[in-house]
Symmetry: C2
Subunit: 548 residues, 2 copies
C-alpha cells in the first residue's frame, strides 16, 4: 500500500511538503516555508508542523528538494533539527539549501547528496528519476517515483513555455512516463486561473534588448536573487552593449556565487565592476543588478528610491527595471518605490506597463498538456490555495481523467493507493508553526490576537499602591500609554483617566472582600469605557495594584 | 488670476480635494477620504488637511461633489464642521452624501443644493456647467468651470466606453467645450497604466445573462453598494428569468433606497423578496444582491462563506458572483472567502476567471480621446499616485499638448493661470489627517510607530516598589506580557526575567544618585537584551518603579 500525505502546500501558496509512504518507509518531498499572511503580526515565516512524521516513527529515508525557492527549501533547517536525514537535490538547489542551513547554524549536521536527471536514485522501496523542468529558477526537477504500487509523478513547480538558457521542461521524458503508465500525477496548480500559455522567456529578452538599445543612462534591474537565468540574460545583453555589470546585494551576491561555482552563471573576465566604482563610471556603460523588486524596505532599490543609497543616487537618465511579479500584499510598498523613482527623474519599467517578467508556473493550457503527456490513472492537484486545487481538479476532468480518479485533497488528507486504485483515506494532524525570532510555534492564535489589539488600539498601563491596613492609596495611580494618542493630546486625556481610577477606588472601599481583584477588574472596565466614550478607541488596559 | 490648489488626490488614490480660487473667492471640488494604508494601524480612514482653507480666509462659496464615491464625499462631514458652506451635487450624489453626514451626526447643518446637467450654476466669479460622465456609480458629473481667466474642465472620475442604462459620458458636450476653447483640462489618471479601452458594461451584462441561463440553483451577487446601474442590470435579468430579488445588507439597502426615491432604481412590484423568506424559497427562483466583494470580514458574503449567516447557508448548486475589482491589499481576504465558498460546494465566479466587472475609470485610449475632444491649452493630470500622474502627463504630450503646458503638480502645489498661461507657483501646506474612532489627527507618526512595535513584538510591563529609606524591594517585580509569547511558554520566560530585574537592582545599590531613574533605564535595557537573547524579539518594555 502506498500513501501520499500532504503536510503543506495543498490549501496555501508555500509551505510545500509531501510525504510518500510505503509501510514503514517514508520520503519527504520539499520542506518549504510560507511568508506571513496579514494576520501573522510580527511573524518571520511559517513552516509545516511535522508532528505526523514524529508520531509515525519508521524509517525516514530522506528529503528530496525539487528546486531552490524558499517555499520549497525554507523549512529544511527545522526538519533537519528533528531528523538528521539525507537531503537530495540538484547542484544549485543544494547550494542554496546549504546557505539556508547556514543562516540557522545547522549546516554542519547536513548530509547532502547531489542528484541529476538521468541518474536514478534508489531509496528503500522507491526508485526516483529526476526530470528537468523549466521554472523561474535553474536546476528545477520533477520527480518520477517508482513505488511498489506504481509510478507516481510529481511535477514540482514547472512551466512548459520555453525558458531561457535551454533549461526548459523535458516534455519527452514526461511523455515516456505516460507510455510506461502513471499511477498518479501530482501537478502544480499555482496558475490555473490563467488562460492559455505563460510568456516565453524570449519575449522578456526582446524587451530587455529594447531597453538596452533605448537607454542612454545607467540601467538598474531589480529581480529575485535566485533568478540566475535572468541574471545571465542581462549579463549577456550588457556585454553586447559594452556595459559593465555590477551585482549588488547580499542575497543576490550569494546566489550568484553558488551559480558561478557550478558553472551555471558565466560573467566573462573584465565584465564585472565593483559597486564602489559606480559613482565615477560612465553612465552609458553600466548595468546594476540587484534585489528589492518586492518593495522590501531595506533593499538596495528601496534605498535608491529614498535617496539613502551610498554609492548610487538615482538621477534623470537612469532606467530602473523591476523584473518580477508583484506578489499580492507587496503592491503598495512596490508602488511607493516606483513613485519615488519617478520623483527622482528615473524612467521606470515594471510589470504593469511592460512585459519584463514571465511567470515560472504553467498556465491552463500547459497544465492540460502535462496531463495529456503523462496520461495519469489518478490526478492530484498540488501547490495552491483551495480554489486553485478545485479549478485544477476540474481541468483534469475536462482533460479526460475519470472524475472518481481526480483526488482533491487538502493538507493532512491521506491519499491511499492499493491494487491500482486511489482514494482519500482519513486525516493526519497538520498545521502551520509560526517562526518569530528564535521561537518556533510559541506564537499562536492567542498571542496574535493580543498583537492585533495592541496594533489597532495601543496599551494603557496603570500602577497604584494601597496601604494594606488603611486601604488608602499610597502611590499613583501612575498612567502610561503607548500607541493610543499623540503625546500632547495625552496629557489631558490621561489626567482625566486618573480621576476615573480614583472614582473606582472610592466606589470599592477598604474592607471589601477581594478588594484588589475587584479594583483591578473595575479599573479595567471603567478605563475601557472612558477611552471609548472620549476617543472611540479600546486600548488594552494593564492594571497593577499592589497592597503593602 | 486663477489658482488651482490640490489638497488631496494628486499623489494618492483617494483623498480627492481641489480648490479653485479667484482672488478671495474659492470653490472646493470634492471632499474625499482615503482608506488606510498598511502602516496606518488601527486607523479608520484619512482625510485631507484643510489648514490652507482655514488660513486663506476669504469667501468659500461651496463644495461641489462630482459623484457619490467615498473617495470624493467621505471627508464632507469634517469639512462642513469647519465651514458650513453649501454643498452642490446631483440627486444621487447628495442622497449618498446625506447618509455620510448622518453617520457623523452633522446632517442638520448641511445646506444641500441639487444641480443637474444643462442647468448652469453661478457662484461668485464662477459659472459651472455639469456634464454627464459614465462611471461605476450613477449621476456622476464632470465640471466645466467658467472663470475670469478662461474655461477649466474637470473630468471627475469617468470612462468613455459605453455604460449600462444609457448613463455614459456626454462626449458631444466635451467636444463643444473644446470648440469654445479650454484653458485647462484636469483629467482622471487612475487607469493610465492600462492600454486600450475599458470593458463596456454590455459585456458584463452578457456574462451575467450566461450565469442566469446556466445556473440551476440560487445566484448570490456581491458588489459595491453604490453600483446602482449593476443592481438594476441584475434586477432586470432576474425578472426575465422569473427569479425573485433579495437586497441584503445595511449599506446596499440604504443606497438602493436613495436610488429608488429618485426613480433611478426600479424594482417592479412582486419582484422583491425579504431575506427572511430565503430559507424556504425555491432555489431556482432566487437572486440575492449583497456586499462584501472586498472581503470585508463582517459582510454578508464573508458570513455566508464562514457558515455563520443566519438566513443563507451556502450549499452545492449555489452560484456566487463577486462582481467588483479586487482592490490591492484586500486580495488575501477575498481569496479566503472564495476558498471557503468552494469548500461549501458553491460555484464561484470572480474577476480573475470571468469578466463580471468593468472598471469605472478610462483606459489610455479613452484618456487620449478626452484630450482630443477638449483640445486643452493646458493639461493637469489628477486622481492618481505619482506614477499615474507622470504617465498621464506623458500621454498628454504624446496627444499634442505642448510640453511646457503640461503641468505635473502634487498635493499643495499651486497651479496659477494669468493671461492665458499656466505655471506652477509655489506650495501651500497639505497633509493627511488620520481618523481613528472619534479622534481626528491625534494619531500621527509617533503613535503609528508605537503601534507597529507593539504589533510586531508585544509589550512587557514590570512593576516594583522600593522602600524609600532602605532601598529594599518591598513589592514585585511583577511582570506581565501581552503579545509576546504563548502563555504556557511565558511562565518560565517571565520567571527568568524576574531574576534579570533583581540583578539590576543589586547592581545599582541604595544611595546611588537618581536611583529610580537609573533603575528604570537599566531594567529596560536589561530586559530588552534578555528577550532578544532568549527568543529573538524586542517587546516594548514599560517599567514602573515606585519609591515609598
Amino acid at each position: 500500500m502506498l500513501r501520499l500525505i500532504p503536510l503543506g502546500g495543498l490549501g496555501e501558496i508555500g509551505l510545500n511538503m509531501m510525504v510518500v509512504e510505503c509501510g514503514e518507509d517514508r520520503l519527504v518531498i520539499d520542506a518549504g516555508l510560507m511568508f506571513p499572511e496579514d494576520y501573522m503580526l510580527g511573524v518571520d515565516f511559517a513552516i509545516p508542523d511535522t508532528a505526523y512524521l514524529r508520531a509515525a516513527g519508521g524509517r525516514l529515508l530522506g528529503v528530496i528538494l525539487t528546486h531552490a525557492h524558499e517555499d520549497h527549501i525554507g523549512a529544511l533547517p527545522f526538519l533537519l533539527r528533528e531528523a538528521a536525514v539525507p537531503v537530495f537535490g540538484t547542484g544549485f538547489t543544494l547550494g542554496m539549501a546549504a546557505q539556508r542551513l547556514a543562516e540557522f547554524e545547522t549546516a554542519a549536521t547536513a548530509d547532502f547528496q547531489r542528484v541529476e536527471p538521468g541518474r536514478p536514485l534508489a531509496l528503500g522501496p522507491f526508485r526516483i528519476d529526476f526530470l528537468p523542468v523549466g521554472h523561474s529558477v535553474i536546476d528545477g526537477v520533477g520527480l518520477a517515483i517508482d513505488t511498489p504500487e506504481g509510478l507516481v509523478v510529481h511535477t514540482g513547480d514547472f512551466k512548459l513555455s520555453p525558458v531561457a538558457e535551454g533549461g526548459g521542461t523535458d516534455t519527452q521524458a514526461f511523455a515516456r512516463l505516460g507510455e510506461r503508465g502513471v499511477l498518479a500525477l501530482l501537478s502544480d496548480s499555482t496558475n490555473v486561473e490563467r488562460e492559455g500559455w505563460s510568456l516565453p522567456d524570449e519575449r522578456i529578452r526582446e524587451n530587455f534588448a529594447r531597453i538596452f538599445r533605448d537607454s542612454l543612462g545607467r540601467i538598474i534591474v531589480a529581480l529575485f536573487a535566485s533568478n540566475i537565468a535572468r541574471i545571465q540574460m542581462i549579463v549577456d545583453l550588457a556585454r553586447r552593449a559594452g556595459r559593465k555589470v555590477v551585482i549588488s546585494g547580499r542575497n543576490i551576491e550569494a546566489s550568484a556565487e553558488v551559480a558561478r561555482s557550478l558553472g551555471r552563471l558565466v560573467i566573462p573576465h573584465g565584465t564585472e565592476l565593483s559597486l564602489e566604482l559606480v559613482p565615477d563610471w560612465d553612465e552609458q556603460e553600466l548595468v546594476v543588478i540587484t534585489t528589492g523588486s518586492q518593495g522590501e524596505p531595506m533593499s538596495a532599490i528601496a534605498r535608491m528610491a529614498a535617496g539613502t543609497h551610498k554609492q548610487l543616487r538615482i538621477r534623470p537618465g537612469d532606467t530602473v527595471v523591476l523584473s518580477s511579479k508583484f506578489i499580492p500584499g507587496n503592491e503598495r510598498a512596490i508602488a511607493k518605490i516606483i513613485d519615488n523613482l519617478y520623483r527622482r527623474g528615473a524612467e521606470v519599467v515594471y510589470e504593469k506597463i511592460s512585459e519584463i517578467h514571465a511567470s515560472g508556473h504553467a498556465y491552463r493550457e500547459e497544465l492540460r498538456e502535462m496531463i495529456r503527456l503523462t496520461r495519469p490513472a489518478h490526478f492530484v492537484p498540488v501547490h495552491g490555495e483551495y480554489r486553485h486545487l478545485v479549478l485544477h481538479a476540474r481541468l483534469a476532468r475536462e482533460a479526460g481523467v475519470p472524475p472518481e480518479r481526480v483526488l482533491l485533497a487538502e493538507n493532512g488528507e491521506v491519499i491511499e493507493f492499493a491494487g491500482g486504485r486511489g482514494r482519500l483515506a482519513g486525516r493526519v494532524p497538520t498545521g502551520r508553526l509560526l517562526v518569530d525570532g528564535k521561537g518556533v510555534g510559541d506564537v499562536g492564535r492567542a498571542v496574535l490576537k493580543e498583537r492585533r489589539l495592541l496594533s489597532e488600539e495601543g496599551v494603557v498601563a496603570v500602577t497604584m499602591a494601597l496601604d494594606e491596613e488603611t486601604g488608602i492609596v499610597t502611590y499613583g495611580p501612575e498612567i502610561v500609554s503607548r500607541g493610543v494618542v499623540f503625546e500632547t493630546a495625552t496629557g489631558h486625556l490621561l489626567q482625566d483617566a486618573h480621576c476615573v481610577v480614583l472614582e473606582v477606588v472610592e466606589e470599592i472601599p477598604p474592607g471589601t472582600p477581594q478588594r484588589v481583584e475587584r479594583l483591578r477588574q473595575r479599573i479595567q472596565g471603567a478605563l475601557r469605557e472612558y477611552f471609548y466614550f472620549t476617543i472611540g478607541r479600546r486600548p488594552v488596559i494593564l492594571p497593577f495594584i499592589m497592597e503593602m
